[in-house]
């Protein structure tokens, strides 16, 4: 795996999802997602070590409603970022998400603003955020925190975009060319920094983290 063995200490497992809009079928979907994924929500956050370097780590659980972002996912990410500021640690987020969660309506939409705002505070504190985009990352997650990394990394062939290909087809009657929205397409259009295979991810992250550790900067900038 990516983090050092037994180094992951999960946070905020006690945040439970409600059904604020009384949305048709949402409670059933949540139960189903819980059974399918074994987790309580679509993102896990916590403290981890990568080659001995402490980081705040978050990653989506794709089996929980496609890692979509509702109130709890947004809140967990924000709390993780705020704790990173308190602990003066870098943040690494692995995204796999269909976007904002429809079933929580406007509350989901504003999680985009809320997570982005928290990253603003992180940046102000000169702390690193590495965003890793895995297959697939779309919608409200692409249009918020996942695109705001100081460094954007994607996995090979991962599909990354704002609007999903099916929706583009349906609404615009536009068939996307082969290879559109892949990590390679995104890199070619200047939208991501690096394409890294999962096997290499740990060592690439470790190098990047090391070069951003406190104390290694040129003194005058501190």
């Amino acid at each position: 795996m990516l983090a050092d063995e037994n180094s992951f200490e999960e946070w905020d497992t006690e945040l439970l999802t409600l059904d604020p809009l009384d949305f048709p079928g949402y409670e059933g979907k949540l139960l189903e997602a819980h059974e399918k994924s074994g987790t309580t929500e679509g993102v896990l956050t916590g403290l981890a070590k990568i080659e001995g370097i402490s980081v705040v780590l978050a990653f989506n659980e794709a089996n929980f409603m496609m890692g979509s972002m509702g109130s709890v996912v947004g809140e967990k990410i924000v709390r993780a970022i705020e704790r990173a500021i308190d602990l003066r640690l870098p943040v690494v987020i692995f995204s796999t998400s269909g976007g904002a969660r429809m079933q929580e309506g406007i509350l989901s939409l504003y999680q985009m603003a809320k997570t982005s705002a928290a990253l603003g505070k992180l940046a102000e504190n000169h702390l690193l955020f590495i965003s890793v985009l895995t297959d697939p990352t779309f919608g409200g997650v692409t249009a918020s925190y996942a695109s705001l990394g100081d460094i954007l990394i994607a996995e090979p062939n991962a599909l990354i975009g704002f609007t999903g290909p099916r929706v583009i087809m349906q609404t615009m009657r536009q068939e996307l060319p082969t290879g559109a929205q892949t990590a390679e397409f995104n890199q070619e259009h200047g939208l991501i920094d690096l394409i890294v295979q999962r096997a290499e991810m740990r060592s690439v992250l470790a190098r990047l983290l090391r070069y951003h550790q406190e104390g290694v900067q040129y003194a005058a900038t501190v």
Partner: protein, 337 residues
């Protein structure tokens, strides 16, 4: 001819009847004033009844009305001056977003708005109010200037959503929107966002990170278009009406959910029935919030905006102890079965 919805037909029929009676009475010189006055009372009552209890889907129809005032309609009524500034300095000028410097009650402000066209020709020019990344980057450029020169930012939201085509993907639609969210959350100047029509998803939110979010009475602001929601939920776009109810996206819902701060009254039947009156209400609401925000220091403006965002979301928090007690409960129940 004004676009007329099914639910408005009883009103239109009565109004037509009144017009006919008046014409008849004038032609034949017969006094029908009593009959007319009865019908007029009836029409007033009917309007209040119909427009006073609009369902979410009916509000969607009004918010999307072809005669719904757009940003440019409001400009001469809201501002003493408006200098439109164009382009993102990177790629193009997106005409689905307008921005510039305006004079509002004597104060220079930066104004950013999504703009839908009127009629097909203008709508094509404005991409039906669906901005591409260059639109959001223009907005960002102008908002950054507002921060630099200490001008309040007024945004006006009216979009079905961000452009969703290949070009938008190639130029980084997600990143363009995300940058707006990040930047807006950090400004030291007052930001007031007003939803004047449709608030379509992330494309709308990109201008929605305000200290105050105001909504016109018949506007809506949603994570997803009701048609798309219906298509996902029931594989049936004709069930948009049901989706509109499920999504809880009216101004009244958003006020309750802590996203909107104020509902701006519209004339009976919608903003298009009386632009001047609507603009006056919008002007008063914005002015009220600008005055209120003036008492905050630049640091407070920023921190209060952050705390407002921070508080959005509904969830339950239970302690580890409660979790273990719960699982013991479940275990015990299982055992007794």
């Amino acid at each position: 001819m004004l676009q007329l919805f099914d639910f408005e037909k009883p009103i239109a029929e009565l109004e037509q009847k009144i017009a006919e009676l008046q014409k008849f009475s004038a032609e034949k010189d017969i006094d029908l004033s009593q009959e007319v006055s009865i019908l007029e009372k009836k029409v007033t009552f009917l309007k209040k009844e119909i427009y006073g209890s609009l369902e979410p889907w009916q509000k969607v129809q009004i918010a999307r009305h072809s005669e719904r005032p757009n940003f440019y309609d409001y400009v001469p009524l809201l501002f003493e001056d408006f200098i439109e500034l164009k382009g993102d300095r990177l790629f193009a000028d997106d005409r689905s977003i307008a921005g510039g410097i305006a004079l509002f009650h004597g104060t220079p402000v930066t104004v950013i708005a999504q703009v839908k066209g009127k009629g097909t020709k203008e709508n094509i020019k404005r991409n039906f109010g669906m901005p591409h990344p260059e639109g959001y980057r223009k907005a960002l450029r102008l908002m950054d200037q507002a921060e630099k020169f200490g001008r309040p930012i007024l945004t006006f939201i009216d979009t079905p959503g961000a452009a969703c085509d290949l070009a938008a993907e190639e130029r980084g639609q997600g990143e363009a929107i995300a940058r707006c969210l990040l930047a807006m959350s950090g400004y030291h100047v007052p930001v007031i966002s007003t939803v004047i029509g449709e608030g379509g998803s992330g494309g709308a939110l990109a201008l929605g990170v305000g200290n105050a979010v105001l909504m016109l009475e018949n506007s809506f602001y949603s994570v997803i278009a009701p048609e798309s929601c219906a298509s996902i939920l029931w594989k049936d776009t004709t069930k948009a009406k049901e989706a509109a109810e499920a999504l809880k996206f009216t101004a009244q819902d958003l006020l309750r959910l802590g996203v909107a701060d104020e509902i701006i009254r519209e004339p009976l039947g919608g903003a298009h029935k009386n632009l001047r009156q609507t603009a006056e209400e919008v002007s008063q609401a914005i002015s009220k919030y600008l005055v209120r925000l003036r008492s905050e220091t630049s640091e407070m403006l920023r921190e209060n905006r952050y705390q407002k965002l921070r508080a959005i979301g509904v969830y339950q928090e239970i302690s580890e102890k409660e979790i273990s007690e719960k699982s013991i409960d479940i275990l015990e129940k299982d055992l007794t079965k």
